[in-house]
C-alpha cells in the first residue's frame, strides 16, 4: 500500500513535469502544424539561463526562472519570425529547421558550459513525511507552477481575443486569414509561449535532477510520447496524457524496475499511433 501511494505520488509529479513540456509541444503543432524538434533544446536552455542567473549574477531563484522564461520565449519568437515563418507550410522543412536549431543549441551549450554537470540546487529542499509516505517539497512547487501554467494557458486561449485568434488559426488557417487574422503576428507569439513553457520546465526541473548538455534528449522523446498519446494538437489531451505517461512510468518502474516499463509504454503508443492516430482526445488527423 505504501509503495502504491508512493508510486502514485511520483507519477503525479512526473506527470506535472511532462505536462509543462507537452503543452508547449502540442501548442506549436496545433497552431503552426510544426513538429518542434528543438523543444528539448529550449528545456536545456531554460536550465542554463536560470543557472547562469543564480550562479553568475547572484539573482534570487524565482527571478532567475522568470529570466529563463523570457529568454527562451524571446529566442523562440525570433526563430519563428525570421526563420520558421518563411517555410511554415512545408512540414518537412520546418521539421529540419527545428532539428538544426536543436543541434546548434546543444552544441552551443556544450561549448560554453563544458560537458560536466552544474552545481545547481533547488532553493526549497526537504520533504513532507506522512508516516512512511513522503512528498518532496520541490515537487510540490513544480506541481503548483504546472497547474498555474495550465490554467493561465487555458485562460489565454479560451478567454482572450488573442486566444480566439490562435484557435481559429489552428482550426482552419484559410478561413481565419480571410477573416483578417494575421498569422505573421500570432505565429511567433504562439511559438514564444511554447518555448517559454519549455524554458520554464527546464529552469524548474534541472536543479531538482541534474543539468548537463544532453539532458534535452529524453525531453523530446517524452514530449513525443505524451503528445501522440494525447492527440497531436490537443491541449486537454496533452495535459491528460502527461499524467497518464507519468503514472504508467512510475508504476511500471516501481513494480517491474529497469527498462520493461519504458518498453510497454512505447509499444502502447506505437499501437495507438497506428490504430488511432488522433490519440486519446484528438479530433481529426491534420492533413500533415
Amino acid at each position: 500500500m505504501e509503495q502504491f501511494l508512493q508510486a502514485a505520488i511520483i507519477g503525479v509529479s512526473l506527470g506535472a513535469q511532462y505536462a509543462l513540456l507537452a503543452l508547449g509541444f502540442t501548442l506549436i503543432f496545433g497552431i503552426l502544424g510544426v513538429v518542434n524538434f528543438s523543444h528539448g533544446g529550449f528545456y536545456m536552455l531554460g536550465g542554463y539561463v536560470a543557472y547562469s542567473c543564480v550562479a553568475g549574477l547572484g539573482l534570487p531563484y524565482p527571478l532567475a526562472v522568470l529570466v529563463a522564461v523570457l529568454a527562451t520565449g524571446a529566442l523562440g519568437w525570433v526563430f519563428e519570425l525570421f526563420l520558421l515563418e518563411r517555410l511554415v507550410d512545408d512540414h518537412l522543412a520546418t521539421l529540419m529547421l527545428t532539428l538544426g536549431l536543436y543541434l546548434v543549441i546543444s552544441t552551443g551549450l556544450l561549448t560554453i558550459f563544458g560537458p560536466l554537470s552544474m552545481e545547481f540546487a533547488f532553493p526549497v529542499t526537504g520533504a513532507l513525511h506522512v508516516g512512511p509516505i513522503y512528498v518532496p517539497r520541490e515537487n510540490l512547487v513544480v506541481l503548483v507552477v504546472c497547474l498555474a501554467a495550465i490554467a493561465a494557458l487555458w485562460l489565454v486561449l479560451y478567454r482572450t481575443d488573442l486566444g480566439r485568434g490562435l484557435r481559429a488559426l489552428a482550426d482552419d488557417r484559410a478561413v481565419a486569414m480571410a477573416q483578417g487574422l494575421r498569422p505573421k503576428l500570432l505565429f511567433p507569439l504562439a511559438f514564444a509561449i511554447a518555448t517559454g513553457l519549455a524554458g520554464l520546465t527546464g529552469a524548474l526541473v534541472t536543479p531538482i535532477l541534474s543539468l548537463s548538455p544532453g539532458v534535452g534528449d529524453p525531453v523530446l522523446a517524452t514530449s513525443f510520447l505524451t503528445v501522440i498519446l494525447g492527440g497531436l494538437g490537443s491541449l486537454e489531451g496533452a495535459a491528460l496524457a502527461a499524467f497518464v505517461v507519468g503514472i504508467v512510468e512510475a508504476f511500471s518502474s516501481v513494480y517491474f524496475g529497469g527498462s520493461i516499463g519504458a518498453l510497454v509504454l512505447f509499444v502502447l503508443v506505437l499501437l495507438l499511433l497506428v490504430f488511432r492516430p488522433t490519440g486519446l482526445l484528438g479530433r481529426t488527423v491534420r492533413g500533415a
Partner: protein, 319 residues
C-alpha cells in the same frame, strides 16, 4: 523537367564511380586516416541511401538505426556459429530487415507526414529497448563482441585493407539496389512525392510502391548494419542508437534530395568535415545544425542542387 531526368540518368553512374574510387584507394595509399574516413563514409552512405529512398516519397524516416540493428545483429549472431560467408550474410542482412519491414510497413505506411516521422522515431526507440531486453539472443546491454571477420570466397577479410574493400563493395551493392529501385519506379515515386492524393485518384496503387520502397529501404539499412558490425567486430546497442538517425538525415538533406548523388556527396562531405573536428567530434553536431539551417533556408537543393544550379548558370551563359 528534362534536365532533372537526365541528371538522374547519370547520377547513379557518377555515384558508383565515386564509390569505386574508394575501392582503388587502398592500392594507392596506406594512410590509416584515409582508410578510417573512407570506411565511415561507406557505412554511412548506405544508411543515408535508406533515408533517401523514403524521402523520394516525401516520407522522413527515423527508423534506419532499427533496421541497421536487425542486419547487424543477424551477422553477429551468425558469426557466433561461424557462419561468415560474405554472399550468404549480405543476403541475410538485406532480406531479414526487409521481411520485418513487411508487416511493419502494413502498419505504419497508413500514416503520412508528421505522423510517419513520429512513428518511425518511436520504432527506433523500441528497437533499443528490445536489444536490452533480449540478452539471450543479442547479448543485451553487453552486445556481441568478437564477431569473426567475413570470409569472401574462402579468404578471411581480416586486415584493415580488406575490411575497407569489403565495405566499399557493400556500398556499391547498396547504391546499385537503391539506384535500380528509384530509377525503375521514378515516375511513381515522383507522383507520390508531388501529391499522393492526386496520384491515387489518377489510379496509381500508391500503397504498393510505398510498401516496396519501405521494404527495400529496410534491406539497404540492414546492409549498413552489416558493414558497421564488420568494421567494429562488435554488435552493440549503442551502435544503433536512435540519435544516429539524425546524422543520416543530415547527410541526405545537406547532400541534396533530388538525386542519389545527394546522400553520397552529403555523407562524403560531412564525414570528412567531422574528421576535421578531430577528436572533438561532439562539436560536429553543431556544424550539422548550421548546415541544415542553411540548406533548408537558402540552398534547397543541398550540395547537389547547388552544383547543378551553378552548372546550369555557367553553361547557360556560355551558349
Amino acid at each position: 523537367m528534362r534536365s532533372r531526368i537526365s541528371l538522374l540518368g547519370w547520377a547513379e553512374l557518377v555515384a558508383l564511380l565515386l564509390l569505386a574510387v574508394g575501392f582503388i584507394a587502398p592500392m594507392v595509399t596506406r594512410s590509416v586516416l584515409v582508410y578510417s574516413i573512407l570506411n565511415q563514409i561507406f557505412i554511412d552512405v548506405i544508411a543515408a541511401e535508406s533515408v533517401w529512398i523514403m524521402l523520394r516519397m516525401n516520407l522522413l524516416s527515423f527508423a534506419t538505426p532499427a533496421f541497421m540493428a536487425i542486419g547487424g545483429y543477424t551477422v553477429a549472431i551468425a558469426g557466433q556459429y561461424n557462419i561468415t560467408d560474405a554472399f550468404l550474410m549480405s543476403t541475410a542482412a538485406f532480406v531479414l530487415p526487409a521481411l520485418v519491414a513487411i508487416p511493419l510497413g502494413a502498419l505504419v505506411l497508413r500514416l503520412r507526414g508528421t505522423y510517419f516521422v513520429l512513428v518511425t522515431f518511436v520504432l527506433s526507440q523500441i528497437m533499443q529497448l528490445l536489444l536490452f531486453e533480449t540478452p539471450g539472443l543479442t547479448g543485451g546491454s553487453n552486445g556481441i563482441a568478437g564477431v569473426p571477420p567475413v570470409t569472401l570466397l574462402g579468404t578471411e577479410m581480416g586486415s584493415n585493407r580488406l575490411v575497407l574493400q569489403f565495405a566499399c563493395g557493400l556500398a556499391i551493392l547498396a547504391t546499385l539496389i537503391t539506384g535500380l529501385l528509384t530509377r525503375w519506379f521514378r515516375q511513381h515515386f515522383a507522383a507520390i512525392e508531388e501529391n499522393e492524393i492526386l496520384a491515387e485518384s489518377l489510379g496509381l496503387v500508391v500503397w504498393r510502391y510505398k510498401a516496396l520502397g519501405f521494404v527495400v529501404a529496410a534491406g539497404v539499412a540492414g546492409l549498413a548494419g552489416y558493414s558497421l558490425v564488420n568494421m567494429l567486430l562488435t554488435a552493440h546497442p549503442t551502435s544503433f542508437d536512435s540519435a544516429t538517425s539524425v546524422d543520416f538525415i543530415a547527410y541526405t538533406i545537406i547532400g541534396g534530395r533530388a538525386s542519389i548523388l545527394g546522400p553520397v556527396l552529403g555523407t562524403g562531405a560531412l564525414v570528412y568535415a567531422t574528421n576535421l573536428f578531430g577528436t572533438h567530434g561532439q562539436y560536429a553536431q553543431g556544424l550539422y545544425g548550421v548546415l541544415i539551417l542553411v540548406v533548408v533556408l537558402a540552398a534547397r537543393g543541398g550540395i547537389v542542387g547547388t552544383i547543378a544550379a551553378v552548372w546550369r548558370r555557367l553553361s547557360g551563359r556560355r551558349s
